[in-house]
């Protein structure tokens, strides 16, 4: 039992289960899943479906954060990717053709790859701090998306394109299958090869890993490319869901929610050790909380207050000072004169 409680995923999963249980007690229909026309329906299925864009973005963010970086541009990349895909479909004569949609999606993903590579270039080759390097694209990206759509919200009616976000395959939503596949691929590559360990090495100590012969530059570059590509898929899903490319609303604040999901899952923002399973749980917590807030009758616009409280509680619980206080109270021995504070601060660097 004690071993179970120490597992790094213990508290995130407890939080998720608590949310589900509380919701079910208040509203028993929350947990029910029905089958209709060979498709599963229910609040839980809906959460799994709508979490797809955030899940993909958070997945990329986990890898970037593991290298001690951060990617603020994911929302902007989503906007660009959606704008590219919908503009191509809109300009083509036949929006219902699968070939058109295929070309549009591939083009959107290629553009996202290029944007991710641009971030990776700035961080790994030029050596700019990740926050600032990705801030450039965060600022300029939405402008680019607006230019692509000529400042309008491009809307299209294309059945094959909407299928990506709202369709069903084998009883399950396609969007859900996409994020499961993406998570599986990333987990396999990171955990079944040495790449995951090397990524963590770069995040824990870039200099030491370089001396040990790890090619940090390539790994960091790859992390941003991955993040860009996943954000591109998320942009396609988002625009497919609303059947429109809204350059301003697409992926707004998603970088913040993705970072929150990664932190909730137990990956430290200081880089190094990362957990993909934790990020999945973190995203599900956020989506469930979102649904709960909606259910409580709170206007969606006010929900950031709840997330702010969650962030504050989580960061305070993770802070070394609180742990020191608890330990100090437990051993009823406080040795916190100024000298030890300084040495601890030195140690924490």
């Amino acid at each position: 039992m004690k071993k179970l409680a120490r597992h790094r995923l213990f508290w995130p999963i407890v939080a998720l289960l608590t949310l589900i249980v509380v919701n079910t007690i208040v509203r028993p229909s929350f947990i029910s899943i029905t089958v209709k026309d060979g498709q599963l329906y229910g609040v839980l299925i809906d959460i799994l479906r709508t979490s797809a864009p955030l899940m993909l973005v958070a997945l990329g963010m986990t890898i970037v954060i593991a290298t001690r970086g951060i990617d603020l541009s994911v929302g902007a990349i989503m906007a660009v990717s959606g704008a590219v895909a919908l503009t191509i479909i809109d300009a083509s004569g036949d929006p219902e053709s699968i070939a058109t949609v295929f070309v549009a999606v591939i083009a959107a993903l290629c553009v996202s790859l290029v944007l991710g590579a641009w971030n990776g270039f700035l961080v790994s080759v030029v050596g700019i701090q990740p926050i600032i390097a990705t801030l450039v694209l965060m600022l300029a990206g939405r402008g680019v998306a607006l230019l692509i759509t000529d400042g309008f919200i491009t809307t299209v009616n294309s059945a094959p394109y909407s299928f990506i976000a709202t369709g069903y395959l084998l009883f399950l939503p396609v969007a859900f299958l996409i994020w499961v596949a993406a998570t599986a691929v990333v987990s396999l590559i990171e955990r079944r090869t040495a790449l995951g360990v090397l990524t963590e090495a770069v995040g824990i100590n870039p200099e030491a890993s370089r001396l040990a012969g790890v090619r940090a530059r390539g790994i960091i570059f790859g992390a941003y490319v991955t993040s860009g590509l996943l954000a591109g898929i998320a942009g396609v899903l988002y625009s497919s869901n609303i059947r429109a490319a809204d350059a301003n609303a697409s992926g707004q604040f998603i970088e913040l929610y993705a970072i929150l999901a990664v932190v909730l899952g137990g990956t430290s923002l200081m880089g190094g050790k990362f957990t993909i399973a934790g990020t999945v749980v973190g995203v599900l917590i956020i989506q469930t909380l979102d649904k709960t807030i909606l259910f409580l009758g709170v206007p969606p616009a006010q929900s950031p207050v709840f997330f702010a409280i969650v962030v504050i509680v989580v960061v305070i619980m993770q802070s070394p000072r609180l742990h020191r206080w608890i330990r100090g109270a437990a051993s009823s021995r406080s040795r916190r004169d100024s000298d030890t504070t300084i040495t601890k601060e030195v140690a924490s660097r």
């Binding site: 951060i70 600022l139 990206g141 913040l256 970072i259 929900s303 504050i312 960061v315 000072r321 030195v346």
Partner: protein, 340 residues
């Protein structure tokens, strides 16, 4: 901040003197670059449009960007300590709608305005305490502040609230004009904020501590400077500036709106960086940030003169930001090489 100076050789060509000056004052170079860009932009726009450099147009430049000037001042304090404050745009929206709501309920202006500033200060205090006492990264702590302020703005009101209070509208409508130039109380407030910030940063113990923390927090600590208090204080200052910007924006638009200022924190950060403040902290000038805001405002104005999409503003600001960051990299790399 180099206090050790070798005596200047009296003789020397202009080029050599320039070299010596630049070596000593490398930190001023990005700010000079920003001023140069501003002048080039203004002259270029005048040549292109012929009616750009008019007193009315230049006065409007200050008027339209008064709120951003105040935000950039607060942001400069935070960035000088090596931190960052993402919450300012949301704080501005929150305090703006808070003030508008209080005034619409008949609460007098001498209570409503302090309440706005206090609201900003409290959110700043929360961020500062999280950063200093709970070792939270400034990025994450101010992210919590961003969410909190944005959500609270919508808690106050979901729709925009019109402001009819004569005192607040006076701030915007009064035009003290001389010739074709005019200045409004909002602009005066913004410029006074800049002046106070210059004084505080360059002539007070607190200001020197801000620079010292940015230069090296550990060293500042060992020098016996009050690091903890100063670090919390810069976030409170940024919060108060957010509240003040909320007042200016409310006066400017005549209403409080909870969706105001989405993404404004990025504009403020961009203005500070273009103005020559290093994001690693320790180097930079408030007056540079003022120049940065003016560069931003001029670009915006030129684009509206050209009748092009406003989205070009974002793209050009992004490119400028990148340019300045690369220049900063070069400067930092050079100064490290000189030291070793």
């Amino acid at each position: 901040m180099t206090s050790l100076q070798t005596p200047v050789r009296e003789t020397g060509t202009l080029g050599a003197r320039y070299g010596t000056f630049m070596n000593r004052r490398a930190s001023l170079m990005p700010t000079f670059a920003a001023i140069a860009i501003l002048i080039i932009l203004l002259i270029g726009a005048q040549l292109r449009f012929g009616n750009f450099l008019t007193p009315g147009n230049l006065s409007a430049l200050l008027l339209d960007n008064a709120y951003l000037i105040v935000l950039a001042v607060g942001m400069t304090f935070v960035i000088l300590t090596g931190g960052i404050d993402l919450s300012v745009g949301s704080v501005m929206a929150f305090t703006g709608i808070l003030g508008a709501s209080l005034l619409s309920q008949g609460i007098p202006v001498y209570i409503a305005i302090p309440a706005m500033l206090l609201g900003g200060a409290l959110i700043g205090l929360l961020i500062g305490v999280l950063v200093q006492y709970f070792n939270v990264q400034p990025f994450i702590a101010s992210l919590a502040g961003l969410f909190l302020a944005r959500g609270l703005a919508f808690v106050v009101s979901l729709a925009s609230i019109k402001v009819e209070d004569p005192a607040v509208l006076w701030l915007q409508r009064t035009r003290i004009s001389f010739g074709g130039w005019y200045i409004t109380p909002t602009v005066i407030i913004a410029l006074v904020t800049v002046a106070v910030a210059v004084f505080v940063l360059h002539w007070t113990r607190f200001g020197r501590t801000v620079y010292a923390i940015g230069g090296g927090e550990q060293s500042a600590h060992l020098m016996g400077l009050n690091v903890a208090r100063t670090k919390v204080a810069v976030y409170v200052i940024s919060g108060v500036c957010g509240g003040l910007a909320g007042l200016l924006l409310t006066a400017y638009s005549g209403a409080g709106y909870p969706r105001n200022g989405i993404g404004t924190e990025l504009d403020a950060i961009a203005a500070v960086v273009i103005g020559g403040t290093l994001l690693t902290g320790g180097t930079g000038y408030v007056l540079g940030s003022l120049v940065g805001v003016l560069v931003y405002g001029t670009i915006k104005k030129i684009i509206s003169f050209m009748g092009a999409e406003q989205s070009w503003t974002q793209i050009i600001i992004g490119i400028l930001l990148l340019l300045f960051i690369v220049v900063q990299r070069v400067i930092v790399a050079r100064s490290i090489r000189r030291r070793t």
